[in-house]
Symmetry: C2
Subunit: 209 residues, 2 copies
């Protein structure tokens, strides 16, 4: 596999927001005034929270989230994707999220779904190598064809052909984290860093899911 | 967090074998002559395979493995640990292992259990920071106290205190993989490598679980 470096172009990706999609997609608008239920939470979100929270604990865990999310293959989202997303919004590290955290997660997932749809040009429900390459270009990355092949193979270990939306979310979040860690160490933006053994393991373990 | 580098000492870890434990532990001996069942497989292993293979498919997947393995907390092994171990012995990438692959996995797990017991000096069923530090020293690693703290925190995200046997297996396999990847790039054994952006992501994604 040949590596070409990132050629100075990481951009397009910030914070916890998926990059490269149209921020003006639908979904629900500004929260209405409180009408019972959790303060400041849209009633539609409250309804969905109630459906996803199957054991009525007032909290959603990765398993409940998994049951509620289906990808373009008709499969539930992977454990990894659900654990990752819960972890991103689970501020007290309890392994669960409450309705306020779910409100943000719900927006986040909708943003990813819209981003994925825009990258899935043939509306197959999956992203292939060409579509993934374009997606990353739109996000500001310039990855080599071999690297794109590697990413598809890694994300779709069974068939090595295409990426479902949950695999896409996991991949993008990981790349986003690695990019941030790399950038912090690449002060001169050379595309090459020096890294020690412990730091290397630490970054790899911290950024992986 | 301070990183001290690895100080030239990786050793003690090779291939798929857990390091730093007594190879002369019990378990079953050399396979007896075939007496029906799979050729060359110990009848006791065949019996255990039959118990773990709950759907009688002739194959074991990560879920079936999970149901069969319990850690010192009385919890089933994590999805991550089971997927990792199945993946290590699943030569055709089917997500399942047959009886011959299970034969090797069973030996492997027993080796880990014995290694873990030897590191768990107070026989608590878990490994704390001090025990983990000694364990890695026995495996030839010299990690800083801060890094050991980080590893415990990463492996035990709920309590940040101690590591169960399944968390220990996942951690050691990851460190083993990262060490190998690092060593390949550290030809002069300086404990510091230069790495490009794509290579960095590629290593991190390949070695993580």
């Amino acid at each position: 596999m040949a590596y070409q470096g990132y050629q100075g172009g990481y951009g397009g990706y910030g914070g916890q927001q998926p990059g490269g999609y149209n921020q003006n997609q639908g979904g629900y608008g500004a929260p209405p005034p409180m009408m019972g239920g959790a303060p400041g939470i849209n009633p539609e979100t409250q309804r969905i929270f109630g459906v996803v929270d199957r054991d009525r604990s007032g909290k959603i865990n990765a398993e409940e989230l998994k049951s509620a999310l289906v990808n373009g293959r008709g499969q539930n989202f992977s454990d990894t994707a659900c654990r990752l997303m819960i972890g991103m919004f689970d501020q007290d590290h309890s392994g669960t999220i409450d309705i306020n955290e779910f409100d943000r997660l719900y927006t986040y997932i909708n943003q990813w779904l819209n981003a994925f749809k825009s990258y899935d040009r043939d509306s197959s429900g999956h992203i292939d190598e060409g579509e993934l390459s374009s997606a990353f270009q739109q996000m500001g990355f310039r990855f080599s064809p071999d690297f794109i092949k590697f990413l598809v193979k890694k994300s779709d270990p069974q068939n090595h052909r295409e990426i479902s939306v949950d695999q896409f979310i996991v991949l993008c979040v990981q790349i986003q984290r690695f990019t941030e860690a790399f950038r912090q160490r690449d002060s001169e933006q050379k595309g090459i860093i020096q890294i020690s053994f412990e730091d290397f393991i630490s970054v790899a373990l911290s950024c992986s899911t």
